[in-house]
């Protein structure tokens, strides 16, 4: 099966229609304190103004690298380099390209293809293939994506 290159523009017209939202990098660290104080069942109440203060109430998720249902899944903090070990140079480069990882906290790959992920304010995670469903960790999210993909390849999403 031929695989599209990262440069193929899957969402080519998105930039012209919605361009400016794509350009804004996310200073997540500066706003980590917006993760509101909440009880374990997810029904706590946001602090007034949404600033709970500490900025350290969301633990960094663990890196992972495993075979799951025949797929190689891996994930690591986006600021630690281009591979789980941080030494870079393995597979396709992502972080230096304007595109899939802008604003992302964590890199998740399936068979070395990027899966766009996002962290919610409550510390849970969503991905582009399970966008309307929260997962507790990037690892759980990656496994769920493998189940959804049923063997299909991820297609790179180029957004600008």
């Amino acid at each position: 099966m031929s695989r599209p290159t990262r440069r193929q523009v899957l969402y080519g017209s998105a930039a012209s229609l919605a361009g400016v939202v794509l350009a804004a990098p996310v200073a997540h660290a500066a706003h980590a304190d917006r993760a509101v104080e909440r009880s374990a069942d997810g029904h706590g109440h946001p602090a007034a103004g949404g600033h709970s203060g500490s900025g350290h109430d969301m633990p960094e998720p663990e890196p992972f690298d495993e075979m799951y249902q025949g797929r190689h899944i891996a994930g690591w903090p986006a600021d630690s380099g281009d591979s789980p070990g941080g030494q870079g140079g393995h597979g396709k480069r992502a972080r230096r390209l304007a595109g899939p990882h802008d604003g992302m906290d964590f890199v998740v790959r399936i068979d070395n293809d990027d899966l766009h992920v996002m962290r919610n304010a409550d510390g849970t995670w969503i991905s582009l293939v399970n966008h309307y469903e929260k997962f507790s960790t990037p690892h759980a999210l990656a496994r769920a994506a493998v189940r959804v993909l049923q063997g299909a390849d991820l297609v790179p999403v180029i957004t600008g």
Binding site: S13, A14, V26, A48, V129, L149, L154
Partner: protein
Amino acid sequence: MAVRKNQANLTATEKRNFVDAVLELKRAGRYDEFISTHNAFIIGDTDDGERTGHRSPSFLPWHRRFLLQFEQALQSITPSVTLPYWDWTVDRSPRSSLWADDFLGGDGRSGDGRVTSGPFAFSGGRWPMNLRVDGRTFLRRSLGTAVRELPTRAEVDRVLAMDVYDAPPWNSASDGFRNNIEGWRGPNLHNRVHVWVGGQMTTGASPNDPVFWLHHCFIDKLWADWQKLHPTSGYLPTGDTPDVVDLHDTMKPWNDVTPADLLDHTKFYTYA
């Protein structure tokens, strides 16, 4: 005045006109622009950065404007067409007429989830997946698999009873009507329906499944229902809020329309 109807009450001709107009937009290359726009906002909207289409107060007016644009595109093909809505509190079965072959087609088959019947089936050749998050080129569904039950009327009523539109921090962690109907909090209404349908509906490219429009049309109707129940509760926030669309801020990507412009849907259509 355009009247948007419950999909269960459409005549055979109304269903055919809707389906034919959707297929014509696809054939002409106009349909996929809507998928692009939606996905761009899905990726760009973040809880701690700028957010417009999702996880923010403008979730409802943004989608109202998005649906209006799509409805106008349909009407450029067939002027009498309006968006139908899917009341999933009532039509909650994969055997609903919504999924019949004369309308949106059926559930996906086991194994690969491919929709094999109706106007949007891959075999018909009229519904290519040009914009997608994975390599599969056919419309997929897996009705009621990832989550068994659609939201109930009681759950909807619980959310409609909330009297504050939205609240700080104006994102997926907020209290209030908007975040509870979007589904990041509370009984999970809007998000859960995407998951219940499965297939492309669970992805950032969810408008690939035409049911997207019928689902969001019902969300739009519920917003209007909420306004009727809470006539003194307005859109929030009203000003000077970082990263989110205030009442009189213009919304991207249109940049010429504000939430305030969209609060009264009867300027554009009514619900039957």
